[in-house]
């Protein structure tokens, strides 16, 4: 299905080190490619280049927010989506460690929107998150559609969404923030389809209508 047709939408999945970007991309696309190194203490891994996955955005009607599903799900339930509008979406994740700025700039290039992840259980990472969000907006433009995910809501010490939003600060940039657990695949499909609607509307307004 993916063949050689270009992607309809490109989403840059951003966020600080250990925010859950790689987990999210692999939850949505089990065949996603990740260039990463395991941490030697066995506590996980760290992305050293990029994560690359793809999903389908299926909608019964133009104005519908629809669903974001994996290629496997789409192939399995293909008949169910007869007559639907089907778009291909690329998910690109960059390394979260701050010194990979140049690599992130390459990864985020030509993205249509930003899905920004924050670890809700780690208030200490919020400062770095703000800096990374600012970095992405600086490169992609202040009008770039953004959705923030207050991730790791499954953890007992996770902060509520409103607290995460307050700590992140800039309310002009952060208008849409959703609770999520990438690990349990909770809230991510809805957030991405919401972001895709924002991207679609922006593309339409830039092309002067429909």
């Amino acid at each position: 299905m993916f063949g050689k047709k270009p992607y309809d939408y490109k989403i840059y999945v951003a966020g600080p080190f250990q925010a859950g970007k790689t987990t999210l991309i692999h939850k949505l696309d089990p065949k996603a490619l990740s260039i990463e190194k395991p941490l030697r203490d066995g506590s996980g891994s760290t992305t050293t280049a990029f994560d690359l996955g793809h999903v389908f955005w299926v909608r019964p009607r133009e104005e519908s927010q629809g669903l974001v599903i994996s290629e496997q799900e789409f192939e399995k339930e293909k008949d169910q989506y007869n007559g639907y509008i089907v778009s291909k979406v690329e998910l690109k994740g960059g390394p979260g460690q701050i010194h990979f700025k140049a690599v992130r700039e390459m990864v985020m290039k030509n993205s249509d929107g930003i899905l920004f992840l924050v670890d809700s259980s780690d208030p200490m990472s919020i400062g770095q998150a703000s800096a990374l969000l600012e970095e992405a907006v600086l490169h992609l433009g202040k009008d770039i559609p953004i959705v923030v995910l207050a991730n790791k809501q499954d953890l007992p010490d996770a902060m509520p969404v409103e607290t995460v939003k307050t700590l992140l600060g800039d309310s002009e940039i952060i208008t849409d923030i959703f609770p999520a657990s990438a690990l349990n695949n909770v809230g991510i499909s809805d957030a991405i389809s919401y972001l895709l609607m924002k991207i679609k509307k922006r593309k339409e307004s830039l092309s002067g209508g429909n």
Partner: protein, 143 residues
């Protein structure tokens, strides 16, 4: 920290020695996750950026090798830039667990000689690393 600074000093001095024996323009020893351990670079070079890019390039090459020749480790990445006589060659080599060396030199140099001197330097650097420090990836990376 003082012990690590000492290691950085020893490795940097070995890199400077390499430059004296062959026309290497710059060299860096970095962790696999892109943090510099030691370097011999021109002042204007952005050490943080180049270290991160080295890490990414080697990671991507390793992933490519996994697809093409599974079960074989990646030893070296060579990049050729520009044309002779001003062209440059970059060698990136994984020299120890989590440690990569990067060197850049004019392509017109005697490649055999550069490789020979590089291997000598690598041997010395490995000795310093393995007997002094356990190089871990973030968040416990040395330095």
């Amino acid at each position: 920290m003082s012990e690590l600074s000492e290691i950085e000093k020893i490795i940097s001095s070995r890199l400077a020695e390499l430059k004296k024996s062959v026309p290497v323009w710059a060299s860096i020893v970095v962790t696999e996750d892109g943090l510099p351990i030691a370097y011999d670079l021109a002042e204007h070079t952005d050490l943080t950026t180049i270290s991160a890019i080295i890490s990414s390039v080697v990671s991507i090459a390793e992933r490519g090798v996994q697809e093409l020749v599974p079960d074989q480790p990646l030893n070296q990445v060579i990049l050729k830039i520009g044309d002779d006589p001003t062209g440059q060659t970059i060698i990136m080599e994984k020299i120890w667990e989590n440690v990569i060396i990067f060197v850049i030199f004019p392509t017109v140099s005697n490649l055999g000689l550069v490789l020979l001197e590089l291997e000598n330097a690598i041997r010395d650097i490995i000795e310093v690393i393995k007997s002094n420090v356990d190089v871990k990836l973030h968040p416990e990376t040395v330095l």
